[in-house]
């Protein structure tokens, strides 16, 4: 129970701090909307091929917009050396990591849920036709992005070029999850449900989430303290 409270304390602190300034979430949301708009000019929304790749476009937007939020996750702690106080507090590194990961997840999901309806308009797709299955994929894909992004945010927090290093490190690791999310999203926004043919992507997404959550929880103490 104490562990859950520690996670909840970090989660609430991160959300409160972000919602007071809205620095990262405003930047992330603006970026997502602008890129969705620009892509809609680049690709003709009436063409079938555009709809086929729309899932890929959507996740590229989510990945880059999410990176803007994830970059701030541990960088926020540098301002007044707050990271020192968190590291010296009697909480496990994993509680710190999970609290931050859950807060990042909520913020990235908020940006995605605002961007999704606009994606439907710009690309002329009925994204709600398989709504709950799409939500499942968005949740799994977003957790994959969040969990790897949060651990790499911790890893790069003391690097001068961390804004550049985070996507360089995170995206290659994220390829399997992004691939699965893109394939499933393209099918779902085209009105096709998840069947046995593409359920392997879903299993891979779940496997990715479980594996990287476990690895991050185990490694975060070493990442933070050495």
């Amino acid at each position: 129970m104490a562990y859950v409270q520690q996670v909840a304390t970090i989660f609430a602190k991160d959300l409160r701090a972000e919602l007071r300034t809205k620095e990262a979430i405003n930047a992330s949301l603006s970026f997502a909307l602008v890129v969705l708009l620009l892509f809609s000019f680049a690709f003709d929304p009436t063409e079938e091929t555009t709809r086929e790749i729309s899932g890929g476009l959507l996740w590229i937007v989510f990945a880059f917009a999410g990176t803007l939020l994830l970059n701030r996750s541990f960088a926020r702690e540098l301002g007044n050396d707050c990271l020192d106080a968190l590291i010296s507090a009697p909480i496990p590194g994993s509680a710190l990591f999970l609290g931050k990961a859950f807060a990042n997840f909520v913020l990235v999901m908020a940006v995605e849920l605002i961007a999704l309806p606009l994606f439907g308009i710009f690309y002329n797709v009925k994204w709600t036709s398989q709504f709950w299955e799409l939500m499942l994929v968005v949740v799994l894909g977003t957790w994959a992005m969040t969990v790897t992004g949060t651990i790499f945010s911790a890893l790069t927090v003391n690097i001068r070029l961390r804004e550049v290093m985070l996507p360089i490190l995170n995206f290659p690791i994220l390829i399997p999850a992004l691939l699965g999310a893109m394939q499933l999203t393209s099918a779902l926004v085209a009105g096709k449900p998840i069947t046995e043919d593409n359920s392997a992507w879903l299993k891979m997404l779940i496997g990715f989430d479980v594996m990287y959550t476990a690895v991050s929880v185990v490694l975060v103490e070493t990442v933070l303290v050495g």
Partner: protein, 232 residues
């Protein structure tokens, strides 16, 4: 049992040894002043004792436990170069946050008590980003003392403080010593530090050049220990 024990500690940055075979002890109730020139290794030693970095070689113990052990961390309070409070949160929210992380029985009560002790209860709901530098420093003191730590690790605690913050800090440090708490502080402000110190350790290029009780000669002439054991 020593409150703080440092045995044969080496710390490397790449190939450069920032700490070289450092051996120090501080008994419960002692106040150890770490002095030395810039780059002597004072901050590195304090950060290693606090558990922010693992030593390359050697052993550090806080009441017998590793600094990364939860029991040891519960007993430690640290003030570094930063104030370690969040600009986006109020003074009260900051202290309640740390109170919860230290699993205090009533975080709000403890937070309010320390806001009163540091003269900040009037602005308890104000955001830290609106505070003056002195108020921020006093809040940092409240944050470090909130959980009643048995060992206080202070890195240049008097640097850049205003008069009121120095007075608050000296008062709480004297009370802490009277209660038998242990203080390890690095400092360039020798006069303020030696008034409190029971022991002095002089670091020179990562090595302990002198470690012993604080004597009347040191208090009357803070440069004495440098002249005798330092590089001059």
């Amino acid at each position: 049992m020593n409150a703080v024990g440092v045995e044969g500690v080496w710390k490397f940055y790449g190939d450069y040894p920032a700490l070289r075979n450092v051996n120090l002890q501080a008994e419960p109730g002692a106040c150890l002043a770490l002095i030395g020139r810039n780059g002597a290794g004072k901050t590195t030693l304090l950060r290693t004792i606090a558990g922010f970095a693992r030593p390359g070689k050697g052993k550090i113990a806080i009441f017998g436990d590793s600094p990364r052990d939860t029991r040891a961390r519960r007993k430690m309070g640290y003030i570094g170069h930063g104030i370690s409070v969040y600009d986006e949160l109020s003074a009260m929210e900051n202290l309640v946050l740390y109170g919860k992380l230290y699993a205090l029985p009533d975080p709000k009560k403890s937070a309010l008590e320390w806001l009163q002790r540091t003269g900040l209860e009037r602005v308890k709901d104000g955001l830290v980003r609106e505070f003056s530098r002195g108020m921020r420093q006093r809040l940092a003191v409240a944050r470090a003392f909130l959980h009643e730590p048995k060992v206080l690790l202070l890195d240049e605690p008097f640097t850049a403080l205003d008069d009121r913050a120095i007075a608050v800090l000296q008062t709480v440090l004297r009370e802490a010593l009277a209660e038998g708490k242990t203080i390890v502080m690095s400092t360039h402000q020798l006069r303020e530090a030696l008034e409190l110190a029971t022991h002095v350790a002089l670091l020179n290029r990562g090595q302990v050049a002198f470690h012993g009780p604080c004597t009347p000669e040191m208090v009357s002439d803070p440069g004495w220990v440098y002249a005798r054991y330092g590089e001059g």
